[in-house]
């Protein structure tokens, strides 16, 4: 039996961060070589602007850049169609057309390998198994690889959760919650400068993680249908949220879902008296601007906390 592709490219963008380790493990177990694009940087973005739709959001531009960076080294590029990542919820509508849009500008080579990830319709394991069959493996091999890959991913997610929390230098240092999508929070171009700055300021912060425990329990009205935002909303309204001294919302230019949901979160935080700051990253963001805003935000919150403490003593 021969496999359809020898090497498969995985762009280090979008769902790569939502399903950490899943695709690499899966293909390796099937005996297919994988090529993962390098972490995002200016050059990748620069390259993307030549092929990419001008009005795309920043993560989508980065995605195109990542595809381009590995295009000439692989037989096929993996672009799953992510329709739903949590049962009963949906993903951003942009993902619906992503495989075809990628195929449209990539032309004939490399091919675009796609499959539907739709948890509402069928569990991930079964989708992966069918992908394996499509690639020329047996259903049994597929099942084995899928199970192992999902295990590896869950392991990775657990690890991530512990590394996502960075405590401050002193126990009284304020703790911030950094909100964003998994593909912005773990992207080197978008988030790393911000997280580095937070670390250098020696404040505690927690990066949003999207495990299923945050998914709203069954039966609750599904007001927000986008799964990442439903989880963020849950995190903000959970009792633990009062621990945070402030919320830093990381967003990217032209993100449609963010534009809607940030407004809601802003209102929610105002109601609960939690300071909320929006940091928008675009292609031209300079580090100095972000540093200044972060410093100002952290400073004003420390003063606020100090004032609150003094007030209590009086």
């Amino acid at each position: 039996m021969s496999l359809r592709y020898k090497t498969i490219g995985i762009p280090r963008a979008f769902y790569f961060h939502s399903f950490p380790g899943l695709f690499e493990t899966f293909f390796q177990l099937l005996g297919i070589e994988t090529v993962i694009s390098p972490p995002s940087d200016k050059h990748i973005l620069q390259a993307a602007t030549n092929v990419c739709e001008a009005e795309h959001c920043l993560p989508n531009k980065l995605f195109d850049g990542h595809v381009l960076s590995i295009a000439d080294r692989v037989d096929a590029v993996l672009v799953p169609r992510v329709i739903s990542m949590t049962r009963g919820y949906i993903a951003c509508p942009r993902f619906g057309a992503l495989p075809e849009a990628t195929r449209a500008w990539l032309r004939e080579t490399p091919q675009v390998l796609t499959f539907d990830i739709n948890e509402t319709k069928e569990p991930l394991q079964r989708s992966l198994r069918r992908l394996a069959v499509k690639l020329g493996c047996s259903s049994r091999e597929g099942k084995f690889a899928a199970t192992k890959a999902i295990e590896a991913m869950n392991h990775r997610l657990t690890d991530l959760r512990s590394t996502n929390i960075s405590s401050g230098s002193e126990p009284e240092a304020p703790l911030f919650l950094v909100l964003g999508h998994s593909y912005t929070l773990h992207d080197k171009f978008i988030a790393t400068p911000i997280l580095q700055k937070l670390r250098s300021m020696k404040v505690g912060f927690e990066v949003m993680s999207f495990d299923d425990s945050l998914a709203p329990p069954k039966g609750t009205p599904r007001d927000i249908l986008w799964c990442t935002f439903a989880k963020m909303y849950n995190r903000l309204t959970s009792p633990g949220a009062s621990l945070y001294a402030g919320v830093i919302q990381l967003t990217t230019f032209n993100c449609g879902c963010d534009s809607m949901m940030m407004e809601r979160f802003r209102r929610l935080c105002r109601k609960r008296d939690v300071p909320y700051m929006i940091l928008m990253v675009d292609e031209h963001t300079g580090r100095a601007g972000i540093d200044t805003r972060l410093e100002a935000f952290v400073d004003s919150i420390s003063w606020r906390e100090a004032a609150g403490r003094n007030g209590d003593q009086e």
Binding site: E55, R81, R94, G96, A101, W105, N254, S259, R264
Partner: protein, 365 residues
């Protein structure tokens, strides 16, 4: 005392909706296009990165509140696009502004939509009102089709647009389904009275994209009329009657390709419906290329999620099927002059192109 209800702008189709509401004894507050003042209000009150239709609707409702209207109706969506959250967000923003207008959706939370429960119209007049609206929607569809055909050929520029306006005004005044039906039959003859040039073969351009921008004259800088006066025959692929027919599975006037047919046409290029009218845009482009249209114009509000995400696909179709596509994104800063300039340049190219192909035909024949 009669409460009033502000109706969202659905272009000329607002006429149909308004008369249905009026026939229930509720006073309707409406217009066929957003006005510049409402747009300014909406711009000031809305979050900056939300799309143009949101700002237009918000501004429209603020204006309604200024006029003392108590209720507003907002379209709902069950799709994947941001529109799903617009009603709630508009309501919240209006409340924060200290405004008392209530925003109702068309969604269900029980057997009756809350809006219907609030006004609680008796059953028989309600059914009659729905029938009246359906008849009027059919008439507006016919008006749109006739206008597009005649405007591109008229001898005296502006006549068709004037007739269209007159017809819409008259239509708003008719109150029974029977009379609307009679009126419907007269329309074709009235348009035929306009003097047209028989010898011309106008450029045929399909208009595709996002609904509000396709239908609201302020949002699209009066695109249809501008193109019509340039002598272009346009086909606007959003006809509400046909659209409703697709959603509810009943036939309302003109037939449109059903969702299933569209999905089949679009399949080689797009296998997922994405959301909004993204798949329709793809399918119509393929369809028009096969039908020999000269070009397509794709319009959407800047940052529209479904429509922008299919643009790379449209580019590919444009190349493979040899049909030019002009992409126009509208935001609150778009100026009519810029749109006209781009259209003129596009049309010039299309005319050249047609001349060239005709030439080749002669040489070959």
């Amino acid at each position: 005392m009669n409460e009033r209800l502000a109706i969202p702008n659905l272009g000329n189709y607002t006429v149909a909706l308004a008369s249905a509401v009026t026939s229930l004894g509720i006073e309707a507050w409406w217009s066929t296009s957003t006005n510049a003042h409402a747009m300014e209000l909406g711009k000031a009150a809305a979050p900056e990165s939300l799309c143009l239709p949101f700002k237009a609707h918000l501004g429209h409702f603020i204006e309604a509140d200024n006029a003392g209207v108590e209720n507003a109706l907002m379209v709902n969506s069950v799709g994947t696009c941001r529109l799903r959250y617009y009603r709630g967000m508009i309501e919240e923003i209006l409340r924060d502004m200290g405004r008392s207008i209530r925003v109702w959706g068309l969604g269900f939370d029980g057997i009756k939509p809350p809006l219907i429960r609030h006004f609680d119209p008796p059953a028989i007049p309600f059914v009659r009102a729905v029938l009246l609206a359906i008849e009027k929607i059919k008439v507006v569809d016919t008006l749109e089709i006739n206008t597009a055909y005649t405007r591109a050929r008229e001898v005296h520029v502006g006549e068709t647009s004037a007739l269209m306006e007159r017809c819409l005004r008259e239509l708003a005044g008719i109150n029974t389904p029977k009379e609307v039906k009679r009126y419907h039959r007269e329309i074709a003859a009235r348009f035929q009275q306009i003097e047209i040039r028989q010898d011309v073969r106008p450029l045929k351009i399909g208009l595709i994209g996002e609904v509000s921008v396709l239908r609201d004259k302020l949002l699209n800088q009066n695109l249809e009329q501008t193109m019509g006066h340039m002598g272009i025959e346009i086909t606007n692929f959003f006809l509400l009657g046909a659209e409703l027919g697709n959603i509810f599975g009943i036939r309302v006037g003109n037939k449109k390709h059903t969702r299933k047919e569209l999905a089949k046409v679009a399949k080689p290029y797009l296998e997922c419906s994405v959301g909004g009218h993204a798949m329709d845009s793809v399918a119509h482009t393929i369809f028009c290329a096969d039908q020999g249209y000269d070009a397509m114009v794709h319009v959407c509000p800047s940052g529209c999620m479904p429509e922008i995400s299919v643009r790379p696909i449209l580019r590919r179709i444009s190349e493979e099927k040899d049909i030019p596509v002009l992409y126009l994104s509208f935001d609150e800063h778009t100026s009519p002059v810029g749109v006209v300039t781009r259209l003129e340049a596009f049309v010039d190219i299309l005319r050249q192109r047609r001349r060239r192909t005709v030439h080749v035909d002669f040489a070959g024949g």
